[in-house]
């Protein structure tokens, strides 16, 4: 019996001929199940949400979504919490905004698989770099980024590098991923992508 992971299955399928695949023949103990589509027709996925943290208590984030509707997110030991770098539930603060992916519990709570706090993803033109400060412009105007001890540069699919010298350069257009600071609006940059 052949054991295939999801990527192998998809690769084999797209490069092979049309036809029918058997779950058992491919080594899957469980039937095939699409993971999406269980929401209302035309609606958003029930397994993804974004909101603003109102309060934090014992592994639960009390939040509101963009329509000010209440939203409860459970964070457990299996959840990944990202806030510039991977971190813990203790770093979740009221006032943080977030995107979360997970699964819905029967009571409507979204049990987080991954939650991204204060994440932003911008395409920018770098105006100036000095020490840890990077001034930039994007479609919203000017902004300030901060190069952090954890900032890395990413060139295509090469491994991330701590050498920022080729990307953190005035005049370059780059993509940055980081966290916006609610008090200052500055971006703490996690990744600079060519």
């Amino acid at each position: 019996m052949i054991n295939m992971n999801r990527r192998q299955l998809l690769k084999t399928s797209v490069l092979g001929g049309a036809g029918t695949l058997s779950a058992a023949a491919l080594g899957f103990a469980q039937p095939f199940q699409p993971t999406q589509g269980q929401g209302e027709p035309g609606g958003l996925s029930p397994n993804f949400a974004h909101g603003l943290v109102q309060a934090v208590e014992k592994g639960i984030i009390i939040a509101v979504d963009e329509d000010r509707a209440p939203l409860r997110v459970a964070v457990n030991d299996g959840s990944r919490v990202w806030k510039g770098v991977d971190t813990t539930f203790d770093d979740v603060q009221p006032g943080d905004f977030f995107y979360v992916r997970g699964t819905r519990a029967d009571d409507g709570t979204l049990v987080a698989e991954t939650i991204w706090l204060n994440i932003v993803n911008l395409t920018i033109e770098i105006q100036n770099v000095s020490d840890d400060r990077m001034d930039f412009v994007d479609h919203n105007g000017t902004g300030v980024g901060r190069l952090m001890p954890y900032t890395v540069a990413v060139h295509d699919l090469a491994p991330p590098s701590r050498d920022l010298s080729t990307l953190a350069v005035a005049g370059r257009y780059v993509q940055i991923v980081g966290t916006v600071q609610p008090d200052t609006g500055e971006i703490h940059i996690s990744r600079i992508i060519a």
Partner: protein, 87 residues
């Protein structure tokens, strides 16, 4: 490179044919293997859309689409029907 690959997918007639039924225009996954980039989408948006997956294989160096299939599980989930999207 990701931009080149996604451009190859999203400009293709195969993608345009199914994009209305995708749960998101953002891929669920993309990975590089043997100089081919594979891009995986979930299907199932809308009442008349089949629930399943769409997979595209794109040459990494020039963004040329080389294969595209949709995979739709049958009602039992025991089998999945693979259909050509390039025709």
């Amino acid at each position: 490179m990701l931009r080149r690959v996604m451009g190859g997918v999203k400009r293709s007639p195969a993608y345009r044919r199914i994009c209305g039924g995708l749960t998101s225009r953002c891929p669920a996954d993309a990975w590089l293997e043997d100089d081919l980039c594979f891009v995986h989408f979930h299907m199932g948006q809308g009442p008349d859309t089949e629930h399943g997956w769409a997979v595209f294989a794109v040459r990494a160096d020039d963004g040329q689409l080389v294969a595209a299939k949709k995979l739709i599980p049958d009602k039992t989930g025991q089998e999945v029907v693979v259909s050509e999207l390039l025709t």
